[in-house]
Symmetry: D2
Subunit: 347 residues, 4 copies
């Protein structure tokens, strides 16, 4: 299964083509839509004011309700574009956006309206593709769950059992500890009021993967496969498996996961390795945390350079932006994790 | 440029084939050897007692001192193998090693001697391939440097300028602050004496990369390309770009890198993004930190399971192991970063 | 540059996503449409009676008339579908169609209407993608041309100079010798009247490719790259470079292409090698001939098997079909050759 | 499974790394050697006088007689090199060799001794890799066979049943009709005496492939996968499936393969499609013919250009060459077909 996404924030539509989908899957389009709704903008004070219905349409690859094995194309129309806001920024790139790098790459020919192809809006087709992948995995007893593990330094409580993630897909604010969730919301709103934004992290688990998949080598190791999918999500700047960066603080005797037998099955007592040893799945949940940078679009004045004159200038970004994208990133991370899991499974 | 490594810890040799090497490079084989020597075991009390000369031989792809553009194959002979130590472990996998995952994958047919193909020894051909990549990059004004950023919680001082990394390639213990280096060494030795091991982190920078390379999409984004190479290094469990996990604690106004003009060139005042915006290089050094887990091989008794009987057993690992692989990982990380940079450059 | 096509003959639309398009190309959409018009059905007695306007719409990747470097998505709506004709064939596969192979692959879940994703109609997005590739090549002084080299054993006269192909793009029936063209038409019409179809061949040349591209090895050799694109065109069953199968009849002294100097440039007197030696371009036009099988859809009764009962049955195919697809294949072959040439050029 | 070959005709060795080999295969190294012996030079008056033992050594990937799933590296030493013959040709490229194209690509830095990496000798590691693939296929009831279908216009009799190919692996001159074989030998010897060479063709079949593998799309269609492997064999200039180029002469009613039931199984009465419909296997043998060009190295004087002066010169090639490589190509074609079949099977 391979995908290509297309579209721009302010073009007619955005979409995805998914090649290699197994035939015969009774595609639950409502479930795909539910995943999109989790990511949809304009749902509350924590996200951008842009309103998009984000209704997914299937263009190909499904017949009589079942996947045919032919490329599955899905499209989402763009409806609520305010294009006037952006053209001014062509030559005064927004700090930490793709504007400058994209300007150089495209020799000035990029579509800046709403971030163009760099827009976080392009994560919608990723969610749609991921929702298909989730259905494929579910049929094999594999599921994917995630929670907001931190926002602006406020951490959710530690995940004790991946089963705890299952009910979170229904929650508007997917944390394990709602008190922490309230504090996170407050931090986001405070930043918003100050014209600023905040970063955070999402912890995700893929449960039910059989042991013995992958290889230590380049292109095959499970961590590398997952990382390739995860870093294709805008704003992801770090990917850490199992105990993650905490492993750098540990001794081997702490970090090693002892083998024990549970219900006649070999498992590990802890899962500091995040379900992967030597690049190969060991049968435990694949767990990882991704770092999500603060939204680069902030209302505060910022330093930039006019690319025509080479002069330093101060810019202010108008338009509608999320003060924190961690919340909306949760179904995206789950979706691309599902796509990665399919690749590891050879689907 | 693509590579394949081959070999096992206790087989006749280990090696690498590098396809797509540009023709006409005057290959400095001594420089390749110097990189291997940085990684070589048996050099001090901090690393395994195994003695290997690790002399690299070129089998193909070089003629009259220059690369021909044909696949460049390099081989390193194994000489100091003690194979008697390992067979006992076939059915009692070592915690957090590739043993169990590999056993399942290979239906029991894996070569366990010295870790077989999972051995850290397989990083030697990676270093050799990376040394070739470094020479290709150097011709284009690009260089790669790294330092031990932490061991067991003891951090090197912060990197202020990537130029500081240049002299470190000559240092036996590549840290910016030698006092911190001494404390790290002490921590390693203490763990070693207790039959234990420690983890750490390596920070790396690729300097001189032009702006405008990469794309936001899957398979093309710069972070994803680097991550795929980095996770193919055994023991790497996390990859974080720029300010890394600290971005989750930041506001946008702190995290954003303001554009300024320096020597007539557009640069960013800070480099929290690690040289990449929207998956595309922005001309600043590509910087990242990798988390290196503690060596799973420790002398202390550990819990395992006998895969034949399904009974829980206690095991003790004999053999020669590094109490900390962070030190020897430095040239490996640099090497694979160089390979990744070549891919980003379309070499 | 990579592409994915999607769609089915009787779905809402067909389309293509083209990733890695260089930014800054002033896309001539009229030229893309002209290529589609060359392939369009319903234009005369030689092709299917299906009427399709085949108007291409750009969904993404172009801004202010120029490519942005983001994925370029193009869509063509389906309008003239007669879906009633096909469902009967689900369990009685048409000989030499994808029906049976597709049935097994999809466990019966394929979309058979009009051939579904197997339809020759899916070559329209290939033509659109190829038309973009042609524009990219033209900017670099490279062009692609083709002619019908034979239909049902009636051969066009031999191509003496690739320049002769240039005016053929304007011809309704692209042959070098119109008398031969008339005979070919007659053969097609005769087959059509008898409820049958005929096969043929297309010869194609890519002119202006620089010498020194490619490599002898798997995945890199120029013939292999072209073949991979060409065999992705339905009905192509053979790909032969340069003198093609005639090389099997030759001696080395005949087959070898002597080097001579022309206008101060090293060229070969003949081009039996089709512009490729050792898997690498030699600067001569890349030439090849593809064999196009007769349309499998014929009106004559044929033998099949009822997949439900396992009984042999006689079937008759209704619907609208081309008695010969060689004519409409010409712009398709040119288009995929252009895509292949881009890959060889590293675009 | 992916491979990389390395080595030059006159370097220390040639070899191959095969990644993704399934673990647990009891590798029959004698069988690998037998395949190499079929391709080995110096065995008779029909091939080059170069003497090579071509003993294969396994460097990695096999433990206790079984594949471990780690990269399988195999090496063959070069022993009988006469390097003096070649350096003179650096600036006067041999017609239809890789010399000129390789010179341009490598900016003059190629290893010309014995053809360097372009040498037909590099097909030995392909044979070794293919022999491993054959063993993997055999375990699944799939086998590969081939015969010389023509040399210099003398055709072997038509293949009626792929079973006829099975005994040919034991024959020194693998044809179905030995009378035709004698005539072919005579044609080769006559060319040899005249300082010339001849071309020919090899027909190959892969029998036992299940129906339903592949897809019509780029990168997945079975013909495209096979072609990519086949064109990576030096001297292959054409690949034609099933009835091949004869399909261009046929009507649909002749070309279509009627479905019938045989032993309760759906098969086709004829196999003009070569076992592939719509890019997907249909359960019939995959059959194809490859065109092998005449050896470009001939003793007759030939026209070339001195790349230093730009003057036209006459050259004579010395050294030891095969007057016809079709004979030695048979195990090579079988081997790469086996590798292609593994890819189609997802191995």
């Amino acid at each position: 299964m391979r995908y290509m996404i297309f579209g721009e924030s302010h073009g007619p539509c955005i979409g995805v083509v998914l090649e290699g989908v197994p035939a015969g899957l009774a595609l639950d389009l409502e479930a795909v839509q539910r995943e999109l709704d989790r990511r949809r903008p304009g749902q509350g004070e924590l996200s951008t004011a842009r309103k998009e219905a984000d209704r997914v349409q299937v263009l190909s690859g499904v017949f009589a309700g079942k996947t045919t094995g032919a490329p599955l194309a899905m499209m989402i129309e763009n409806t609520d574009q305010h294009s006037g806001d952006y053209e001014a920024l062509r030559y005064t790139p927004r700090p930490s956006h793709g504007d400058y790098a994209g300007f150089i790459k495209s020799k000035g020919c990029l579509d800046l309206r709403g971030g163009g192809h760099f827009s976080g809006r392009l994560t919608a087709p990723l969610v749609a593709a991921g929702a298909v992948a989730k259905q494929i995995l579910n049929e094999r007893g594999i599921w994917v769950g995630a929670h907001i593990s931190s926002i602006y330094g406020i951490s959710d409580r530690a995940l004790e059992d991946t089963e705890e993630l299952k009910p979170l897909a229904e929650k508007e604010f997917p944390v394990l500890d709602d008190t922490k969730g309230e504090a996170m919301r407050a931090a986001v709103l405070e930043a918003k009021e100050e014209g600023d934004s905040v970063g955070g992290a999402v912890e995700c688990a893929v449960t039910g993967m059989p042991a013995g998949l992958g290889a230590p080598d380049f292109g095959c190791n499970v961590e590398g496969v997952f990382a390739q999918y995860l870093f294709a999500v805008p704003a992801v700047k770090g990917v850490d498996f199992g105990a993650g960066v905490a492993l750098s603080l540990m001794r081997g005797s702490e970090a090693n996961d002892p083998f024990v037998v549970e219900d006649g099955k070999v498992v590990t007592k802890t899962n500091h390795a995040g379900g992967v040893n030597g690049g190969i799945t060991n049968g435990m949940p694949i767990t990882f945390e991704v770092t999500i940078r603060p939204t680069p679009s902030i209302a505060l004045p910022q330093e930039s350079v006019d690319l025509r004159t080479g002069e330093e200038v101060e810019i202010e970004i108008h338009g509608r932006h999320d003060p924190c994208i961690v919340l909306r990133a949760v179904p995206v991370i789950e979706g691309v994790a599902a796509l990665a899991a399919c690749q590891v499974l050879g689907i």
